[in-house]
Symmetry: C2
Subunit: 330 residues, 2 copies
Amino acid sequence: MRMLINVPETVVADALRGMAAAHPGLAVDVEHRVVMRRDAPVEGKVALVSGGGSGHEPLHGGFVGPGMLAAACPGEVFTSPVPDQMVRAAAAVDSGAGVLFVVKNYTGDVLNFEMAAELAEDEGIQVAKVLVDDDVAVTDSLYTAGRRGTGATLFVEKIAGAAAEEGQPLERVEAIARQVNASSRSFGVALSACTTPAKGSPTFDLPPGELELGIGIHGEPGRERRAMMTSREIADFAVDAVLDDLRPDGPVLALVNGMGATPLLELYGFNAEVQRVLAERGVPVARTLVGNYVTSLDMAGCSVTLCRLDEELLRLWDAPVETPALRWGR
Amino acid sequence: MRMLINVPETVVADALRGMAAAHPGLAVDVEHRVVMRRDAPVEGKVALVSGGGSGHEPLHGGFVGPGMLAAACPGEVFTSPVPDQMVRAAAAVDSGAGVLFVVKNYTGDVLNFEMAAELAEDEGIQVAKVLVDDDVAVTDSLYTAGRRGTGATLFVEKIAGAAAEEGQPLERVEAIARQVNASSRSFGVALSACTTPAKGSPTFDLPPGELELGIGIHGEPGRERRAMMTSREIADFAVDAVLDDLRPDGPVLALVNGMGATPLLELYGFNAEVQRVLAERGVPVARTLVGNYVTSLDMAGCSVTLCRLDEELLRLWDAPVETPALRWGR
């Protein structure tokens, strides 16, 4: 264990207290585990609510703020949040314009957000849901029926969040979120396993000198294990896996994401290879984001997410956003 | 080796190509290893130029942009850049208002920036220099005479960069940079060593279950090695080490910095402990930044930097900045 923690039991609550101290724009309910925009509910605007297991930071709490999420519900590490958190978040941020739940396709998240939607509707809150399932590595796993939800979550939250910020109605915000998910695909690679505080040892066994192609967000097994590859080879494999499924015929938005422990120096170098492959395949790249955004604790590795853009999606991607992890102006 | 690279020899050039692709606001001279604001030189404004060994990203290239650095010169991993890079950068970004070199106190950096200043002055460029030496862990080491330069580099670059962006003259920008450095202290802790691409094995030996208190930016040895401590105990030790030396009598700016491989979840939890210690010692915190900003490749660990603020420094800290790693608006 080389963790910067007190005890495993308080890791999430400690982090929420630390977030609250660092970000005065957030209102953090540490007891009930809800991170909200301080100015929520925002009159006349749809509110996006997401959540999932902790350990993927800055996802989702780091994406709360004007232009993105109204609230996030963190569960225990790698464990779904409970419906009570989601209902509480929805009630706190709903202005009357309705709430969109952004749900990664992970069985626990799906069930709990479904139950929360029913409970919130019983309280008179209008709720829509979008399921994010962008991971092309595997369909159906021990944890999820269908494709897993990974990097596209950031795209859905940013782009649909911008639509909500513009004052678009719930059905339109939901449609945009669905379009973004349907237009996005991801592929991830692990160079090491990660270690959860509760377990204290790596979540799976990955011998030095090997890598796992097609890893899930919790280190779920992927397509195959191989001897270590170069950055160039990994980019070829990952980008082609995405393109085979996505088949873009115009510009894309690219996320070159670190899993947590891979240095930014390496991620930028990997981005150079990703851009090379895309250029070789004739795919124009409109925007690129490089960094640690959808992580798995201290896992070394990376993922590539591409999203087919149209003019509206690009405009919404470029719209101002002000969250702890993603901020830009006009 | 669990690195996302091609070969060690091209790591820095690969990363620069990847930065160029991701950030259209930067002009990156990959061959000569200079990262510049695309709009440089900016008429009538002082230009800040920094640089140092690679492996500390986003420092310094990620801090190039309006409101911060005009240019950065990356050396090889953990190796000082050469004077030619600095002279080239200075010539490219000088508007005639002069250049401020921001130099971390590391012997190679100090010598090379000194030589570069002489060469640039021979070319008619007015150059001032500020030395950053904020690390209270050790004075004099194998690599540096005096205190080492670490987290305060970010504060100097942000705050003096804002003064330059306002159009303040070189001598004033230099004086502010010196004030920020003199008002800042840091203390770092390693929970693991880091691995450079060229060496391929950890830079020092840190057995599991132990930590190094007072680590330098390259993993230089610190004050002492101990059995693993809790986040609470580390915060007590690090904050007290800083406060003993800094003795603030008013509000401070706090950087809770990750060394690279420590998850953001843990950094936020550590921030809660840092804020607790500061509250117990009666030190008000005006602003807090939490994240991986001054890193050591894949090292696990953290550092705390505090800066005594006056009204002008706080105003300059809050001023807009638009760089890859640090951005905020009015």
